[in-house]
């Protein structure tokens, strides 16, 4: 192990911009608001505790509107910035593909990664896709209530399945961000924007080199 020197330990580098962090926490806050209210609307046992469906439905829809409204605001307020982040997340190089194989097999040394590792790239693509699926199916569920021409699609089933896919991904994300010893330092990056330089060198060397 490369023992960091005292100066390195206190040296921090910026990993996430205020816009990126805002988008992350906007998603985190609205996702959990929608998860909790959605489960209340979904689970028979919770329906008994909180029978005021109209209230939970309003909060659920309000959070969805807040998520997309806030996202739009961030896209407009920092033109191009989130698009650059998206391009970074979109692009998988040879090291990323090797990293995914390494992450599955856990053998050998970790292939070097940029600012985002391949798992983080995959996570963001999956969650972004799921948010669109939630929105399309949720909008249909909303329209079906009042307009028969929107019935006949399986919006409710798709919404449920998307939840069953999203929750394990988010739980895995929470484990790596809050619990797992070698990765949880990244929470600091999302909270304050900066991470320790030595941590960046270990986990994201291709990015750290360019700083």
């Amino acid at each position: 192990m490369d023992a960091p020197t005292a100066t390195e330990q206190t040296a921090y580098v910026r990993r996430f911009s205020p816009t990126e962090r805002s988008l992350h926490w906007l998603l985190a806050g609205t996702f959990f608001a929608m998860l909790v209210t959605g489960l209340i609307l979904y689970l028979p046992s919770l329906a008994q505790v909180a029978a005021d469906r109209q209230l939970w439905k309003s909060i659920h829809l309000g959070a969805a509107i807040a998520f997309w409204g806030g996202t739009l605001l961030l896209l407009v307020s920092a033109p191009g910035e989130l698009q650059r982040t998206a391009r970074e997340l979109d692009s998988f190089d040879e090291d990323d593909r090797r990293w995914l194989r390494w992450a599955v097999r856990r053998g050998g040394t970790e292939p070097p990664q940029g600012r985002f590792n391949a798992g983080q790239k995959l996570n963001s693509a999956l969650i972004a896709g799921l948010m669109v699926v939630f929105t399309i199916s949720g909008t249909l569920m909303y329209l079906q209530e009042t307009d028969a021409s929107f019935r006949g699609t399986s919006a409710i089933l798709v919404h449920d399945v998307a939840m069953y896919v999203a929750v394990p991904i988010v739980l895995g994300h929470l484990y790596l961000a809050l619990v797992h010893p070698s990765t949880r330092h990244s929470l600091r990056g999302m909270a304050l924007g900066t991470v320790r330089r030595d941590w960046a060198r270990r986990h994201h060397p291709k990015w750290e080199r360019e700083l």
């Binding site: 028979p44 998206a86 190089d93 693509a125 896709g129 799921l130 699926v133 929107f150 089933l157």
Partner: protein, 222 residues
């Protein structure tokens, strides 16, 4: 080193699967519906068992066997006001039928025990004026309606027991209308009164644009 635009493929793959599911899903959910029926009874309240509990005016009504009455009134020769014991003393029938909700979920093979409406009509003796039946819930203002003929369809009953257990509060205790040929909103929960009337009154959801004849697969845009 060759960069691959993999993020967008994953993103578009997820969106595409979701959109495909919107159109293929009704077949899938019917295939998956037996899964709900293998969940042990003790777990039914904790995990989704296929049912979703809808209500329009919380809190849910409470059933008190001492004060409960089933009233049959309107265009009848004998108005009825049956106690719970009297309802349970009526001839009982059982059936196993699927339950379809208009929002797209289905619970297969629900086992019901209950009373055919013919037994009530035998006692109340509907007059020639009795063209429609309004089924009135303890949950005000929920009401839905069937034509008198529809009340005599072979699988229509007032169900008080579901899958071997007395109907729970969530499912409309003590009794709900069961008409498996029609979507769930016709299957009035917390039933307390039936009015026989000469003209059609729109039910709760019919007043909000849903079809009066809610045949499964043949109404409400399906």
């Amino acid at each position: 080193m060759r960069d691959v635009r993999m993020g967008r493929r994953v993103f578009l793959g997820v969106v595409g699967a979701g959109v495909a599911g919107l159109f293929a899903g009704s077949r899938l959910s019917r295939a998956a519906s037996p899964i709900g029926s293998v969940v042990p009874n003790a777990l039914h309240d904790l995990v989704p068992d296929g049912w979703r509990i809808y209500s329009v005016n919380p809190p849910w009504p409470r059933f008190d066997p001492a004060t409960y009455r089933l009233t049959v009134a309107g265009a009848v020769e004998n108005q009825l006001s049956l106690t719970w014991d009297e309802v349970m003393a009526l001839p009982q029938d059982t059936q196993t039928t699927d339950f379809h909700c208009v929002t797209g979920w289905t619970v297969g093979n629900v086992h019901w025990t209950g009373v055919r409406l013919q037994h009530l009509w035998d006692m109340a003796k509907p007059t020639a004026e009795a063209k429609y039946a309004n089924f009135i819930s303890m949950e005000q203002p929920y009401v839905d309606t069937l034509s008198f003929k529809q009340t005599l369809l072979p699988q229509v009953m007032l169900g008080h027991s579901m899958d071997g257990q007395p109907l729970t509060r969530a499912h409309g205790a003590p009794m709900r209308l069961v008409i498996p040929e029609m979507y769930g909103y016709k299957n009035v929960k917390w039933l307390t009164r039936i009015d026989l009337v000469p003209t059609l009154n729109a039910g709760f959801w019919e007043q909000r644009g849903y079809d009066v004849d809610a045949w499964v697969g043949r109404s409400n845009g399906y």
